[in-house]
């Protein structure tokens, strides 16, 4: 991939998480998200925890700049719950995290599990008051009879403390499992989507939401598709899209009607009949949809490919990238071991010139749209020396395997990269393996 000064090379920067091969299920990373400036990087895991990393800014102007992200805050966002009416356990797994644009000194993010969305305030405290008249420094109340004079309390420096406090809880609005949340560009509303419905919330109001999409049929026997992802347009506060398990994307305009069951645009590519198989419905199901930063394109990820759609053209994508086409002949096995149901995410880089997504064997793929080049890289502990340049990897789909190639049958399907994120401005990427978070950056020449 060409970048400033020639081909871009990616270097290892950091890895977060346990080194043990024995992975605790609670530590499995379930979502990764940079905030709008890229200074903060949030991860959610199956245990309901949110870990926020902060970038060290002071080194940025130095030569051989190496961004370092250090733990900024950790808190338990969601706990397991039990729905007594339905006798169902509600997992605490964090499905999505979305940052709100920063308005003041504090940071806000939305985190969601299957049923409940929470708004968290992350604030810093580096001063504490001292010199109360009625209280001792340790908080004990003084005997008023011992007070002989008055003083003004003062703020004295203290060690930085980052506090995370839940400010809003948006609950009881979803019958099915929440798969997406998306903050509107108006910074006042956001949407949450489950398998059959999309709700519109106001960030300040927790006791009600507006249902804007409902695809639940009157008779569930007629159910043919579910909602898999939804997102607001980055600039048009009235526009959002949602993808379906049938491989379609619907763009809706909230100005058209209160209930956006009728789409404004339907993006769908006809299926290639030569690729028809028992698993066609599964591999055509869209697992992620993301608008480009400029709002002109959107990207969808299905099991084997990524597609770039021009919002002005509905009948086919403008670009299609095969992520791991060599898996097409393995769909049966992937169905047996449930890997075919893996939901890979995708992301854009800051200027929408490169897209990235994950694969198996801890591989992840980048596609340079402008130069029509792609690269496969690996996130592994073996390549985790500081500033070590990542070597491109190649999968041998058939025939004689060349040196340094890995055969399809040697791929480890337990090592999968489902979640990736790209810094909004710089070439810094966060790649989540099962329980580790890798941070890579481009090599500064």
């Amino acid at each position: 991939m060409a970048g400033p000064g020639g081909d871009m090379q990616w270097c290892f920067s950091q890895v977060k998480g346990a080194i043990d091969d024995d992975v605790a299920e609670a530590d499995i990373i379930s979502t990764v998200e940079f905030n709008h400036t890229g200074e903060l990087l949030a991860t959610g895991d199956k245990g309901g925890r949110v870990v926020i990393f902060q970038q060290e800014i002071e080194n940025k102007n130095q030569p051989q700049f190496r961004s370092e992200y250090n733990v900024y805050s950790t808190f338990q966002s969601h706990e397991p719950e039990f729905d007594y009416l339905k006798s169902l356990e509600i997992e605490e797994k964090i499905n999505k995290i979305r940052w709100l644009p920063q308005k003041n000194a504090a940071q806000f993010l939305l985190s969601t599990n299957d049923k409940t969305i929470k708004l968290w305030k992350i604030s810093e405290r580096d001063k504490r008051p001292e010199g109360y008249n009625l209280k001792e420094d340790d908080g004990r109340y003084k005997d008023p009879n011992t007070i002989t004079s008055l003083r003004v309390p003062v703020l004295i420096p203290m060690d930085l403390m980052v506090e995370a406090s839940p400010r809003r809880v948006f609950a009881n609005a979803h019958t099915y499992h929440i798969n997406s949340i998306s903050v509107n560009s108006d910074n006042e509303t956001y949407l949450s989507a489950d398998d059959l419905r999309i709700n519109l919330w106001h960030l300040e109001i927790t006791d009600r939401s507006f249902n804007i999409v409902d695809i639940k049929p009157a008779n569930m026997e007629e159910l043919t598709e579910v909602i898999t992802a939804a997102e607001f347009h980055p600039h048009q506060c009235n526009t959002f899209v949602y993808s379906s398990s049938k491989g379609t994307i619907r763009l809706c305009d909230m100005r058209a009607s209160a209930l956006c069951d009728k789409h404004s645009k339907l993006f769908e590519e006809p299926e290639d009949p030569s690729n028809r198989s028992f698993f066609s419905e599964i591999i055509s199901s869209i697992s992620d949809v993301k608008f480009s930063h400029n709002g002109r394109y959107m990207m969808t990820r299905d099991y084997l490919s990524m597609k770039i759609w021009d919002l002005n053209m509905e009948n086919r994508p403008v670009e299609t990238y095969q992520v791991h086409e060599y898996l097409r002949s393995k769909l049966c096995s992937l169905y047996e071991n449930d890997c075919i149901f893996d939901k890979f995410e995708c992301c854009w880089n800051g200027n929408d010139s490169v897209v990235m997504t994950g694969s198996y064997n801890n591989f992840f793929r980048m596609f340079d749209r402008g130069h029509r080049r792609d690269v496969t890289l690996e996130a592994s502990r073996e390549n985790s020396k500081p500033m070590q340049v990542l070597k491109p990897r190649k999968v041998c789909a058939g025939g004689k395997r060349k040196k340094d190639e890995i055969s399809v049958d040697s791929l480890d399907f337990n090592k999968k990269i489902l979640h990736t994120a790209w810094h909004p401005q710089d070439n810094i990427i966060a790649v989540a393996t099962t329980n580790n978070l890798y941070i890579f950056q481009d090599k500064v020449n």
Binding site: T175, Y176, H177, E222, R276, S277, F278, R328, S329, L331
Partner: protein
Amino acid sequence: MECAFDAQNLISISLRKIQSSRTQRGGIKLHKNLLVTYVLRNARQFYMSKNLSQAQRTHQYEDVAAARERQEYLELTGSFTELADDFYCNFTGLESGNWHCGAHQPSGQPAEVAHQDASPCAMASPSDPELMVPEACWSCADKSTWELPMPNAQANQKTVLDLDTHVVTTVTTNGYFHSDCCAQPKQPQGAQCYAKKRKMDASYHIVDPEFYLPDFGPVPCKRMRTDDDTHSDSEQLGSTNISNLISVLGSGGLSDFVSWQQTDLEQIFATQTICLKHTLLTGSGWTRAIEAF
């Protein structure tokens, strides 16, 4: 990775997934189950289409009376190996852009038929005597062709699959069991055995606590049988291993295979609720059977 790829196996795997999803933490995943039912339907349609082709082939060479009886029972002949070969399809879309259906010919050579015709559903030209498979084996572009031109009583049939021995049995609503696929070579008395009535008492369902176990490994329990079943099923179902019979409704739409009860309180009150239930067969042992109706 090895892939035991045949329609029966896919049906078995799919139903097992649906069942195990009921015990997964967090409740039934609607999306995943919906996709599984698509695979299930695809496999079943393909399997039933092969049944039909076999029935039609044998029908050509028999008298009308015998053909009518055989058609009614949808009985397949041949060894399990031959049947497995019939259902073996090797998808090589990556290499050739086509998918192939390979079936062992009597000479032992695999016969590959590349399907390049315009219709995505056609497996062979109608004039091909060797592969008499209905064109609409499973729908591609035309979703309305999901329903196959099956012989009578398709709408009243239930397909019962033994996960252990891969015996597939078709049950009609009049209570008749018909073995579609035998693990053992067909016995001369097979037709009479399957002609005996096995009445499914839909009102009698006992939930087996082991149903909730995610592992379908053998459990040291006896299997109960009816007197009718003992003679006909002993060879196919096995005598000591627990057989898990998965019954899938033959008619109806996609949602026939899946129960949404656990995830949607509203569905409890909906008409034609579909659910997975256990059926215990009476007799000397007992069999865990899951029936979707």
